[in-house]
């Protein structure tokens, strides 16, 4: 992995974390997209078998610490979503734009479902389910723009195909 790619990975993940925790009006809070999960999915699709699952776990642990949730909760959810993406990477890459939007919505919903189930198993009651749908919807809508933006930055700074 070359230096520029590592830098780009670091910057994209840290800005995703920043966006995730950026203060917003209470009214808008449930509509904040799952930036971090989307960025993780993007890099899983791009890097394929160079994608490091250990690093995604580490990032998940950082989220757990920021959020104050049980250590490993978000790490596990991110890990399983990355696994799903890696497993079906070819399918996702071939999919059309509308199909991708739909599938990203489902993936984000699955991510939050995993969190919900894990929290339920640990006996931490989660009372509201509407925010899950709202953020899945906003994540799905933001996905094409996010992937285009990241593609653009990547093509202009990092030559990935030559490195391989």
């Amino acid at each position: 992995m070359n230096f520029r790619l590592a830098l780009l990975l670091f910057l994209s993940f840290s800005s995703a974390i920043a966006l995730q925790f950026l203060p917003v009006l209470p009214l808008l809070a449930p509509w904040v997209p799952q930036w971090l999960t989307l960025v993780a999915i993007y890099w899983a699709l791009v890097l394929d078998d160079h994608f490091s699952l250990s690093w995604i776990c580490f990032i998940g642990l950082c989220i757990d610490v920021m959020n104050g949730s049980v250590l490993g909760l978000h790490a596990l959810a991110l890990l399983w979503i990355s696994f799903l993406v890696l497993k079906n990477a070819r399918h996702f890459r071939r999919a059309g734009r509308m199909q991708q939007i739909l599938e990203m919505g489902l993936l984000i919903l699955a991510y939050q479902f995993i969190l919900w189930v894990l929290q339920g198993v640990m006996g931490q009651a989660v009372l509201q389910w509407k925010p899950y749908l709202m953020s899945s919807l906003s994540s799905a809508i933001i996905w094409p723009w996010l992937s285009l933006l990241l593609d653009d930055i990547r093509f202009s700074y990092v030559r990935l195909k030559d490195d391989r």
Partner: protein, 296 residues
């Protein structure tokens, strides 16, 4: 390129999953991982402050863009307020003395008074469904777990964990939060539970014969040794009686502005040994609190 896909990532996912589940288990049931958490949170503290910076900058801009005229009118207003408060304080001091004399006559224990420390909430949007806030004061500034956080109008919550430069507050609207309260009018005692973000609190296990009315102010009762006595928690907003149910459904509006206040006060309160002993004798303290002091 086409065949380079390593079959390994399934195994790696499996082994990492087991590791993470083990981590979750260890974090839930034992306290081994607190050092890991502390190290990571210290590393992430700059990020938390940085995220809060834009809002601080906006506030600063608001102040610096204010005209001299605005500032001077505000200043006179504040001076008037201080004068009023001082007059009220004089009365209060008088009443406090009278009160403690009466309490001595009744042989009841002294009311505790707390020390206050100012703090600010960092503006960070935590995950929906968890009602927690982060304060800009931590162990270095003397914050300890179990301290109470209030704003100008009432109780906001309690400190549940402390890192060197930040601390985490569990708001009273969180489902994990419970406060013993008493009705200011009738003296009736009950518990308030949180029901989630932006939802009214709930006064639980109140039978239909209890003396609770809409509009009653609920104060902390000091039982349970967590929240000190006499701070406002909320106002009864709605009482619903369902026939066949043993208890009423009572909604309470929090006095504190849970989603708006940014400047808060940390209260340091120490229950006297005598008070503690009495509560243990009365069976009001759970066993865990008998041996060690305020512990989560």
């Amino acid at each position: 390129m086409l065949f380079r896909r390593a079959a390994g990532f399934g195994w790696r996912t499996l082994s990492l999953s087991i590791l993470m589940i083990g981590l979750m288990f260890a974090d839930l049931h034992y306290r081994y991982l607190n050092t890991v958490r502390n190290v990571l949170s210290v590393a992430l503290t700059p990020l938390q402050y940085a995220l809060s910076a834009p809002i601080d900058a906006l506030e600063w801009l608001q102040v610096s863009a204010a005209t001299q005229h605005q500032l001077s009118t505000e200043n006179t207003q504040l001076k008037q307020q201080v004068l009023l408060m001082q007059v009220k304080l004089q009365q209060l001091i008088n009443m406090q003395e009278e009160n403690s004399q009466l309490r001595a006559l009744l042989k009841s224990s002294e009311r505790i008074t707390g020390q206050f420390q100012e703090a600010k909430l960092l503006a960070i949007n935590l995950e929906v469904n968890s009602d927690e806030m982060i304060l800009d004061k931590g162990a270095e500034q003397g914050v300890t777990v179990g301290q109470i956080v209030i704003d100008v109008s009432g109780i906001m919550g309690q400190v549940i964990s402390v890192t060197p430069f930040t601390s985490r507050v569990l708001l009273i609207s969180d489902p994990r939060s419970g406060i013993p309260v008493q009705d200011d009018r009738s003296g009736f005692q009950a518990m308030i539970l949180g029901m989630g973000t932006e939802r009214p609190l709930s006064l639980i296990h109140v039978s239909e014969t209890a003396d609770v009315k809409v509009g009653d102010l609920l104060l902390t009762s000091g039982l349970g040794m967590r929240y000190p006595e006499g701070y406002p928690v909320g106002v009864v907003e709605e009482i619903e009686k369902t026939s066949g149910e043993p208890f009423m459904d009572i909604k309470v509006r929090a006095s504190a502005q849970l989603s708006q206040s940014r400047r808060v006060l940390l209260v340091r309160h120490d229950f006297s040994v005598e008070q503690r002993k009495r509560m243990i004798e009365a069976g009001l303290l759970p066993y865990a609190e008998k041996s060690s002091g305020a512990k989560l």
